[in-house]
């Protein structure tokens, strides 16, 4: 069921909580110890959720729990803050490298009829505001 485990990660999953070190390094997921300088002077903040696709790959052979969702795309995305994130794509059948994308909150998986519905970030092609 992993209820507490999913709950614990809610800020990362729902609003891309990240950390920024005094040395300037941004971390997603947020950390307490900077892997660039080793210091512990972190400030937490929310990432913009906007960036571009560096690489993508279609998952057609599902891991346990994702049988109902294949095929889906996963991507490596560079957010505008400079940090990389690995995530699934949403609303996108023809991804391209360089494509601008934005974070949306979507269902990751359901854990059976009585289990949890796990939500988290995915990225879709950036909607142009009219």
């Amino acid at each position: 069921m992993e209820i507490s485990r999913n709950w614990r990660l809610r800020h990362q999953r729902y609003r891309l909580l990240a950390s920024k070190c005094a040395c300037g390094t941004i971390h997603f997921p947020p950390r307490t110890i900077c892997h660039a300088c080793g210091k512990k002077s972190m400030k937490q903040f929310n990432l913009s959720g906007i960036g571009k696709i560096l690489s993508f790959a279609p998952v057609t052979s599902a891991p346990l729990g994702f049988e109902d969702y294949i095929p889906y795309f996963v991507a490596l995305i560079r957010l505008d803050e400079g940090v990389l994130i690995e995530a699934q794509l949403a609303d996108c059948d023809n991804p391209e490298t360089g494509m601008r994308v934005e974070m949306v909150t979507r269902k990751w998986r359901e854990q059976g009829e009585r289990g949890m519905i796990v939500y988290g970030y995915k990225f879709r092609p950036l909607l142009v505001k009219s």
Partner: protein
């Protein structure tokens, strides 16, 4: 001085008729007979998926018991796909320390007891559970992400990466322990279905069952001329996720681990006569050749394109079939690699014999989060 004095394999296959303990026992018996030894002082087991696939941990005691060694020191080492090589490292440290004179390393994996979805889950546990596995990112998709970037950045074609698979298949033909003893050509690869675009099923190693064991001993206990020396040994780590790396196209762990092993062995890349690298995916072979100093950044695939990785090439790799064609029984694979280097240096590689005195093996755990390197030399 630490010496390797024997090795043993099971054939790599889908061993539906054998359990984890039976596979382990088979390679241990073969290695002990090969080393002319009855019982080691210690057993180091390399395994990744015993807990998830077989519902079994405590493999040290289990396998020692099943081999009739109850009483000896024994435990398992886990470092994802590099578990077997990490177990060898532990055995090396134990013998080098002087506290243990004879040790056996047994890499073992029984993967085909479960269905493919569970296998994909189990093999992805070397990735970050909270940020990769839980949102549906598999190990194969991580390497597909890297492969697409690599091909775009450096101009490598699917045909180039495919040459790594062709080489491994060619070398497996003469290896009686390999799972696929059949040559393939580039058409086979290009026409095969995608595992995860741009990686076809022929770019990926088969997950299967098997066990390999290697016997180590100290100088004090050495009573044979038939031995190879371990002259370099190193483990290095990198970030768990490729997203937290400065350069996702560089294997820093492989670079660090190789550099330390070269320094310890007082060797350079040009001194290495053969390299058993970790071709779990063809892209990984190209990146390892770069990280270990055999090619510049972005040029590893050219060694394959220019046919320099064959038995008579500039740097022979995967000489007994590699992960692609000998097979990849995850936690056992690192021990197969080291045993094959020993086999080569002892002049026992048959049709695939490479003439050289120094060989290297490197195993990669997860998407390059662990790298284990060993350099062996003929006595």
């Amino acid at each position: 001085m630490v010496a390797v004095i024997g090795y043993g394999f099971t054939r790599i296959s889908e061993h539906w008729d054998k359990s984890l303990r039976e596979l382990a026992c088979e390679s241990i018996q073969a290695a002990l007979m090969n080393a002319n030894m009855e019982k080691p002082e210690a057993l180091f087991v390399g395994n990744m998926s015993g807990a998830t696939v077989s519902g079994q941990q405590h493999l040290g005691a289990l396998i020692a018991d099943w081999c009739g060694f109850s009483g000896i020191e024994a435990y398992a080492i886990e470092a994802a796909d590099a578990s077997g090589a990490a177990a060898f490292r532990s055995a090396f440290l134990a013998v080098a320390s002087g506290f243990i004179d004879t040790a056996i390393v047994c890499g073992v994996e029984q993967m085909t007891d479960v269905l493919p979805d569970y296998m994909t889950f189990a093999t992805s546990l070397g990735s970050d559970y909270d940020y990769e596995v839980s949102c549906g990112i598999t190990q194969t998709s991580l390497f597909a992400l890297i492969a697409r970037m690599y091909m775009q950045e450096f101009g490598a074609m699917r045909e180039d990466l495919g040459m790594f698979a062709i080489n491994s298949h060619r070398n497996a033909v003469a290896n009686p322990f390999a799972i696929y003893r059949k040559e393939i050509n580039i058409d086979t690869l290009l026409k095969s279905p995608m595992a995860c675009d741009p990686l076809s099923v022929f770019d990926c190693s088969p997950v299967c069952d098997g066990s390999a064991s290697v016997v180590l001993c100290s100088e004090k206990a050495l009573n044979t001329q038939r031995a190879v020396r371990v002259i370099g040994s190193s483990v290095a780590t990198d970030t768990m996720m490729i997203a937290t790396r400065k350069d996702p196209l560089h294997l820093q762990s492989a670079n660090d681990s190789a550099k330390r092993a070269y320094a310890m062995a007082k060797k350079k890349p040009e001194d290495i006569g053969l390299f058993e690298l970790f071709d779990a995916y063809t892209i990984l072979a190209a990146m390892q050749l770069e990280a270990c100093g055999f090619a510049n950044r972005g040029e590893g695939y050219l060694l394959a394109r220019n046919n320099e990785i064959g038995i008579r090439g500039k740097i022979p790799i995967c000489t007994m079939g590699g992960l692609k064609a000998r097979g990849n029984p995850i936690g056992a694979t690192g021990v197969y690699q080291i045993a094959e280097v020993a086999q080569q240096l002892l002049g026992e590689a048959g049709k695939n014999q490479v003439t050289c005195t120094t060989g290297m093996a490197q195993s990669i755990g997860g998407p390059g989060s662990t790298a284990v390197t060993h350099i062996l030399e003929a006595v």
